[in-house]
Every structure is written in structure tokens, then in C-alpha cells.
């Protein structure tokens, strides 16, 4: 199916305050598509640019260069952004900050409809109530304020607000990371139900590989403003090519055997102003070679699966992958 929303070569630079005139790249040529009914996972650690990307996609921030595509056409004018936002909506991370504290849920849910020109207030209320019920909330929630609800309930309400305009794709930015596991499962299953009932597409942003694995059919792995590996979830998790993906998988508590969590990725992402080598992952990479610092890694393809790496493929033995790095810290 044709993608509803896409990104082509998005770049974003932040200027660092001061005399130096430094710019810090937050996104370095990111392309991405989400089709209706498709669950795309975007995984990466803090500061990798995933939230910047998502905010650019919805037009809350603007890119330095590159385009956002709506049904294949670049989005430029105000009207085009408005029409994009009818098709694509956004759910925020923090269930406590993302609902206006002094508005009734009913107003929160009907206001978007009013903005988008639905005149009849009965119709608006009916739509809002239907939406609440679809996300598993009682209609009586309309009268109440956000403070009356738990984190999981608020996240349901946020999803209802995003859905009230009947978008075809929603962008979910870390929406379960603040929730307890038992509630997280409820929300994840709700998203799957919505996919089944409305053919909803989701761009699901998370730092948790386990959640991405559960939910998504396609996965993008992001590191310092670049998608370093992308592919069908089954393929990518079965046979990861990029050492960063492999490291993330090894660091994820479930995958390793009990008692042997492998800290395969050393150190931390560099502070933003540092000059990066040709391959930004080089300083932390267990497989780095001389070429990595000087030459931009090529894109390798394996079926429907691509990665940016000079030395793709299965990880070296656990021993030589681990020892040099943990000491560097």
C-alpha cells in the first residue's frame, strides 16, 4: 500500500549557542515510510534523534533539509501540513504532561473536531464518546479532568485524542516507557486491536527492543541521527548485521542467558559537539577497523534488509567482542 507519510533525506542541525558557530547534526539523512496498517518500529537510545525525527514528521519542528512526504507528495504549505495532520496524528510520551490539566476530557477530545470544522456539537460529543469506548474507557470520562485518571488511562485518552480525527497513521513516541509492565501490555494490545479494526498504521518509537519486537513488522535502528539498519522484523532480529543492533540485542535483558548480560557496546554516545568519525559508531564498535574512522560505511543489502557497515555480519566471538571495551568505559 502507498505510504501515508514518509521522510526523504531529512537533515536537522542544531546551532550551539556561542561564538563558535558550531552546528550539531541531529539527523543526518534519514528516510522512512509508514503505510496504513503497517507497524514500523524506530529504535535507538536517548539522543539518537528519534524524537526529533518524529517531531519533524508531524511539523512541530522543521528540518534543515530534506522533505516530509504525504502520500508521496512533499509537504510544504500550511494547507498541506494541515491535511497531513488529518491523516497522521501523534501520541506523546508523558501521560501526565500531554493532557491539559484543567480541561475536561470531553473538551480535550472534541476540540480537535471543532478546529477541523465539525460544527454540530452533538456530533462532536458522539464521536468523542465512541472513541473513548474504542480505547476501553467509559463515556463518563467525558466529564472528568485528567487528574482523575491513572497513567495507563491517560495514555488511552491520548490515543483517543489522536484517533478522533480518524488518521490513518499515528506516531507513538515512547508511549509505554512511563507505564508499568502490566499496563504497558494493555496499551500494546490496544494498538494491535486498532490495527485490526481500523487498519491503523503506527510509527512506534521506543528504546525497548523487546517492545518493538513484539509490536512491529518492520524495524529501523537509529544511531546518532542515522538509520544504521533497517528491515523486516523477523529478518532483522534473527540475523542482525550491524554491530550496534547486535550490541543492543545483547544488552537487552531477555536475550542473554541469565547471569550473563553482555555489555557489548562500550562507552556512551559522544557529547553532541564532538566531531564524529566517518562511521559515527566507530568509537564504540567492537569490530572497528582502520577504515571505519575515515570512510563512510557502505550500505549493504540482504534481501529486504539493509545496514550501513564496513564489517557487517555475525558478531565475532563473545570474548574478543567484550574485553577491550568494558575497560574503556
Amino acid at each position: 500500500m502507498e505510504p501515508v507519510i514518509g521522510a526523504r533525506d531529512l537533515e536537522k542541525q542544531f546551532a550551539v549557542r556561542g561564538f563558535s558557530g558550531h552546528v550539531v547534526p541531529a539527523l543526518r539523512g534519514v528516510s522512512l515510510d509508514v503505510a496504513p496498517g503497517e507497524f514500523v518500529g524506530l529504535v535507538g537510545e536517548s539522543g539518537c534523534g528519534k524524537s526529533t525525527l518524529s517531531r519533524i514528521l508531524i511539523g512541530v519542528e522543521s528540518a534543515t533539509s530534506g522533505e516530509v512526504l504525504h502520500e508521496g507528495r512533499p509537504v510544504e504549505t500550511r494547507e498541506e501540513w494541515a491535511s497531513l495532520r488529518r491523516d497522521v496524528q501523534y501520541v506523546f510520551q508523558d501521560p501526565y504532561g500531554s493532557l491539559p490539566p484543567r480541561m475536561r476530557i470531553g473538551d480535550v477530545l472534541t476540540d480537535p473536531l471543532r478546529i477541523h470544522g465539525m460544527r454540530d456539537r452533538h456530533e462532536r460529543a458522539a464521536r468523542a464518546i465512541a472513541m473513548l469506548q474504542e480505547v476501553g474507557m467509559p463515556a463518563s470520562a467525558m466529564q472528568r479532568y485528567p487528574s482523575a485518571f491513572s497513567g495507563g488511562q491517560r495514555q488511552r485518552i491520548s490515543i483517543a485524542r489522536a484517533l478522533v480525527l480518524e488518521p490513518r497513521v499515528i506516531i507513538c513516541d515512547e508511549i509505554v516507557s512511563g507505564l508499568d509492565v502490566s499496563v504497558q501490555a494493555q496499551v500494546l494490545n490496544l494498538l494491535l486491536d486498532l490495527q485490526a479494526s481500523r487498519g491503523l498504521g503506527v510509527l512506534f518509537i521506543s528504546h525497548d527492543l523487546r517492545v518493538i519486537r513484539y509490536l512491529c513488522s518492520r524495524v529501523c535502528v537509529m544511531y546518532l541521527g542515522e538509520i544504521v539498519e533497517e528491515g523486516a522484523a523477523d529478518e532483522l532480529f534473527a540475523d542482525p548485521q550491524h554491530p550496534y543492533t547486535q550490541g543492543l540485542l545483547a544488552s537487552s535483558p531477555d536475550r542473554a542467558a541469565p547471569g550473563q548480560l553482555a555489555a557489548r557496546v562500550a562507552g556512551e554516545p559522544p557529547s553532541s559537539s564532538a566531531a564524529l568519525p566517518a562511521c559515527p559508531f566507530e568509537p564504540r564498535c567492537p569490530r572497528r577497523g582502520d577504515v571505519c574512522a575515515v570512510e563512510v560505511p557502505p550500505e549493504i543489502r540482504l534481501g529486504g534488509h539493509r545496514a550501513l557497515c564496513h564489517f557487517p555480519g555475525a558478531p565475532a566471538t563473545a570474548q574478543d567482542a567484550r574485553s577491550p571495551i568494558t575497560d574503556r568505559a
Binding site: 504532561g97 500531554s98 491539559p100 452533538h122
Partner: protein, 324 residues
Amino acid sequence: MAEIASSADGSRVVAARTHGPALGTLRALSWFRSRPRTFQLGCALLAAILLLSFGGPIVLGSDPSEQNLSDYLLAPSPAHPFGTDATGRDLLSRVLHGGRPSLVISTFGMLGSILLGLCVGMLAAFGGRMAQRVTGFVVDVQLALPYVLVAIVLVSVAGASIPLLVLMMVLAGWVQVGRVVRSIALRERSKDYVKAAAVVGASRARIARRYVLPSVLPVIVALAPLQMAAMLVIEATLSFLGMGVRPPQPSWGSIMLEGKNYIDSAWWLTTFPGLAIFLTALSLLLIGDGFERAEGGSLDRVQSIAADDQGENLAPVIAGRVEP
């Protein structure tokens, strides 16, 4: 909202606002009774002062400017509970009359400064970069001038009058309100619900009005009595400096100005009007504190909000922070 929801198919929606006005009064009453004792005391005190200032002189029937030189500087007695002044005027009746201009000027001053501060504060938080610069600059200019000096200049230009005094109250007070409003609005603006509203297509003005303003209002409600107390004190101060309401109309400050000359012989001339100001301002502070406590805060919080503002100024230089 209630009737919208219940008339739609949501039959299960509870109609929350079906009670009549009688029930409303009852609610207000029970709300009042659930407030802290200090709040109730403040309300009672203020009500009494208002009643005495506006109703008292009618009951008393005495003329505050009626002179009786044989009653020169009498100490408080049953005939003159507050004593008399140097021209034999009854101090009680002068204090009661003197409340009127003070209360009127500070009420309007409070309203004006809140309105102006609210507008400027919201503009500073939601306007464009230019609006923010300009308002910041105006605030700095206003802060750099002591209100007494402003009053001196204005009185010398236009001469003292009630509208001018109100204007001076507004000038003395709006910055405080503006800073508080801006501070709250900026804090709210950084929250996700504002971005969420933008994502569903709400304009900046709509976000400011419908989404953020409701978070600002409770603080304004608590700030208003505080503000009025400050106005009362400022008005009295200006009158005391001879820049207030013109004689023969007495005001608390101007009575004390006259009393100052007899400070070593007639203590009552400054004490009673002073107490009047003090009690009125105190009742207002108690009320403000009661409002704020209903929101789970205290006057401390209201007064501290703007003090965090410095963080806003310095935010761009805080290490490693990147400006988008």
C-alpha cells in the same frame, strides 16, 4: 458540556450540572466552610471593613470635616472613640470616610494591574520573538524605576487625582503579575499538551486561551488579594508623601501625614488609620492564602513563581544546552 454529552448517545454520561442556583449557593457555602479558619477570618474582617467604610458614615451621620476647635487633640474617649485631630475633627468618622478612596483606588488598581499583567505575560510567553523581546525590555524599564519616583514624576506632570492614582497603582503592580503569568505560561508551554494541541491544529492564540489560560487563572485568583493589599499600602504611602487624594477628602495615608506632626503628643492620630490599613491588608492576605491553599500551594509559592524566571534568562547559556 454536560448537556452536550448527555443528549448525545452517551446515555451513561452523568449530567453533572443539573443543580439549580440554590444548590450553587449551598455549594459555595460548604466550600467556604471547608476553607481554613484563617481564610474565613480574612473574609469576615474584610466584610466588616467594607461595611464600616461604605455604610458606617451613613449610620454615624457625622461629617468628617466638621471642625470643632474646642475639641483640639482629644484623646480617645466614649464621645470620640478614636480621639480628635488638631482641628477638632472626629477621628473615627475620618477613618471611616478615609477608607473609601483607599479601597476604591486599590480595587481598580488591582483590577487594572491584573488585566495588564495578564495580557503582557501571555504575550511574552506566546508572542513571537519580537513580542518577547519588547515585553522583556518594558518589564526591565518598569522595574528599574522605583514606584515612588514614578509617582513623583507623574504627579508633577499631571497633578494628583483619583484616575492618576489608579494609573500609578497599575504601573506599580502590573510587572509582578506579568512576571508570574509569563513564568507559569512558559512552564505550561513547554509541556507536551501544548504540542499535542498544536498537532491537532490549534492555533497559538487558541492554545493560549483555551489550553493554558485555565492553568494561569487559579494563581491569578490567589494573586489578586495579594496585589490589592500591596496597592492599599502603596496608596497610603503616596498619600502620606502628599501625592494622594486632595484634602478635604480624607484618606488613611493623608490622615497619618497630618498626624505625623503630633507624633510625640497624639499617638492616636497615626495609630488608628495605620491599624485600618494594616487590618484591611491583612484580611486580603489571608484571603489570598486561602485561595492558594485550595490549589494545594501557599502564598510562598505564588510569590516564588516569578523568582524562578532567572532560569529562563540563563537557560541558553546553561552548559551543553542547545538552542533549536
